[in-house]
């Protein structure tokens, strides 16, 4: 579903992502791990179109989306969350979510000024969608609360819901469990699994190995912008290059 070929991104002299090729399958959970500054978030930014690659190609469902504008890519069905959660703190959770479905609506200024039927229908649709996704992430009961007042973990879920409100095929999650305690992390993992069960493909960055290892179907490891390994969790756990660059070895521990 997502096919990356020789993707490279340079910031000045620094190659944040360098010559990465990878295939992500539909309906799977794909993980990206790697040390801090390895280029994981940059990789996401490239896929989501937030920044343009220096070299290489990105194909999504057979379509070349390299260098396409962010919002078009979103309309094609790629949604994302950010490493630091961004929400509109001064409005309610539900109000935050309604805009998530905006990209599936047609209303223009004119509709707004005359309050057309189309607008009313679409607003209803957006609200319904917002309620759906809120329910999906298990937060229906806090829809009316101010976003500023909800907990860190709830915000992460709201961010998920916001991504889901765009009706995506593929969701990119950047450190969804960052700053979340182990107990909640497990619940979050369950939620991610549920997303996949509902037909959304997930791609996630995470430093929490327990979570990754139990969740991912496939893992790609980045280091210094380069792909140093790719495979199933078991393969990755055993991979000496990965152990050296990222995981740290048990041998070290034993020695």
């Amino acid at each position: 579903m997502l096919k990356i070929e020789n993707l490279t991104k340079r910031f000045g002299g620094l190659a944040a992502v360098s010559n990465v090729s990878v295939d992500f399958e539909a309906g799977k959970i794909n993980a990206i791990i790697g040390p801090n500054g390895a280029g994981k978030s940059t990789f996401f930014n490239l896929v989501a179109g937030a920044i343009a690659p220096t070299e290489g190609r990105i194909q999504f469902q057979g379509m070349d989306i390299t260098g396409m504008a962010c919002d078009r890519i979103a309309r094609l069905g790629i949604a994302r969350t950010f490493q630091s959660t961004m929400l509109f703190e001064e409005s309610t959770v539900l109000d935050n979510l309604i805009v998530g479905h905006r990209l599936r609506t047609q209303s223009r200024l004119w509709d707004v000024l005359i309050n057309s039927k189309r607008l009313r229908d679409e607003e209803k649709k957006c609200r319904a969608r917002a309620e759906d996704v809120l329910d999906f992430v298990g937060l229906s009961h806090i829809g009316h609360r101010l976003t500023a007042d909800i907990s860190q973990e709830e915000k992460k879920r709201v961010a998920f819901a916001l991504a889901l409100a765009t009706d995506p095929e593929l969701v990119l999650l950047d450190e969804p469990a960052g700053g979340i305690n182990p107990e909640e992390t497990i619940k979050l993992a369950a939620l991610i699994r549920k997303m996949v069960d509902h037909g959304v493909t997930v791609c996630l960055i995470e430093h929490k190995m327990d979570m990754i290892m139990s969740l991912a179907h496939k893992i790609m490891v980045l280091d210094h912008g380069e792909k140093i390994a790719e495979g199933t969790p078991d393969q990755i756990k055993q991979n000496p290059v990965v152990i050296e660059a990222y995981l740290g070895s048990d041998d070290d521990a034993a020695a």
Binding site: A69, A74, F88, V99, R102, S107, E122, I142, R145, N181
Partner: protein, 353 residues
């Protein structure tokens, strides 16, 4: 429900809106003299422009420092068309709005590529260029002499808008329309779109929102508001000069917006009225009133950063959320034994970790 809550509930209700409009309609009858009506009408005109600024700055988060210049563009378009080209008032009025939109589009397309302070200072410069053009382009704008004898809005033989009270009602109608459209916009999908851009460009773009198109739209809306207000202003004061485009006006409008509450629906109006009447009542201090007004502004910004309306709505929203929460908790403990839903609420409220 406490009395306080009842009052605050009422303030937000549709009945309140009707009451406000009624008060506004009755104001000329209650006003001690025509001067007060005149000041009120002028404040309404400014408020319309401030509503425009609220769209681009309050909702969409782009600080446009050329706003005063667009106000002047509206005024000049009307003045030039009526005085120099013999157009009747109302067609010229429509043209003024259209000119605001057109120039807003051109300026927006160029300037919205910049972000934050750069955008702000860039528009400051655009505003200054517009001012200088009005000052220097004599063959079109009459230069520093300004344009005199601008006709008042045409009353079709029914009303005489050179009179203060009829003009007051005209301004009121336009104000109500402006607030109505502003409220439509801010409560609609479009307003939510703008809001998403204000939180973060990246977030908005990742939600499939075309940044440029929406920002330009917000910008054009705001300049149209400004131009319409400017045209009304020209029809009221009936003389305009380049000083109308001075940045000081833009800063005045930002002040109104901030005092009333940026990003709120009633903030622009409340802020404009508060400051207008405050300035009028400080007139007795004459040239020294800035000594009072300056520090007042500073204190306000420090101690009431959300403005009058913003502070009120934030306070109310929080209370309502708390009330609903309590309600939810009660019903939960009454009906279902503390299961999934209820327990996680508690957790959320009590222990955020």
């Amino acid at each position: 429900m406490g009395a306080l809550q009842k009052v605050s509930g009422f303030i937000m209700s549709p009945a309140m809106k009707m009451l406000l409009i009624l008060l506004a309609v009755l104001f000329p009858l209650a006003a001690g003299n025509e001067y007060q009506i005149y000041v009120m009408a002028l404040a309404f005109v400014w408020a319309i422009a401030v509503y425009g600024m609220n769209i681009v700055t309050g909702l969409c988060g782009q600080l446009n420092l050329a706003h005063g210049a667009f106000f002047a563009i509206g005024a000049y378009t009307l003045a030039i068309l009526t005085v120099d080209n013999g157009w009747p008032f109302w067609p010229a009025f429509v043209a003024a709005g259209a000119m605001g939109a057109l120039l807003g589009f051109l300026v927006g397309v160029v300037s919205l590529r910049l972000k934050e302070h750069h955008f702000a200072i860039f528009t400051l410069c655009v505003g200054f260029i517009i001012y200088l053009l009005m000052d220097k382009w004599e063959s079109l704008t009459h230069g520093t002499l300004g344009i005199i004898n601008i006709p008042a809005p045409h009353g079709f033989g029914l009303v005489d808008f050179t009179e203060t009270t009829p003009f007051y009602y005209l301004a009121l109608v336009f104000l109500v329309l402006s607030v109505f459209f502003a409220s439509r916009i801010s409560h609609s999908l479009l307003g939510r779109t703008f809001l998403a851009i204000r939180i973060s460009d990246d977030l908005a773009a990742s939600l499939g929102i075309n940044l440029m198109r929406n920002k330009v739209l917000a910008f054009v809306l705001s300049t149209t508001y400004a131009a319409v207000a400017g045209a009304l202003y020209a029809g009221m004061v009936r003389f305009i000069g380049p000083a109308e485009a001075d940045v000081a006006h833009t800063f005045d409008m930002i002040t109104y917006l901030l005092v009333g509450g940026i990003g709120t629906l009633m903030g622009p109006l409340v802020g404009t009225l508060v400051i207008t009447w405050l300035t009028q009542s400080l007139q007795s201090l004459e040239e020294y009133r800035m000594i009072v007004f300056g520090p007042l502004l500073v204190l306000l910004v420090i101690f009431s950063p959300r403005g009058v309306v913003g502070s009120f709505t934030a306070w109310r929203a929080r209370r309502r959320a708390a009330a609903r929460e309590q309600q939810a908790r009660q019903t939960a403990s009454e009906k279902v034994p503390p299961q999934a839903g209820a327990s996680s609420i508690k957790k959320g409220a009590g222990n955020h970790a």
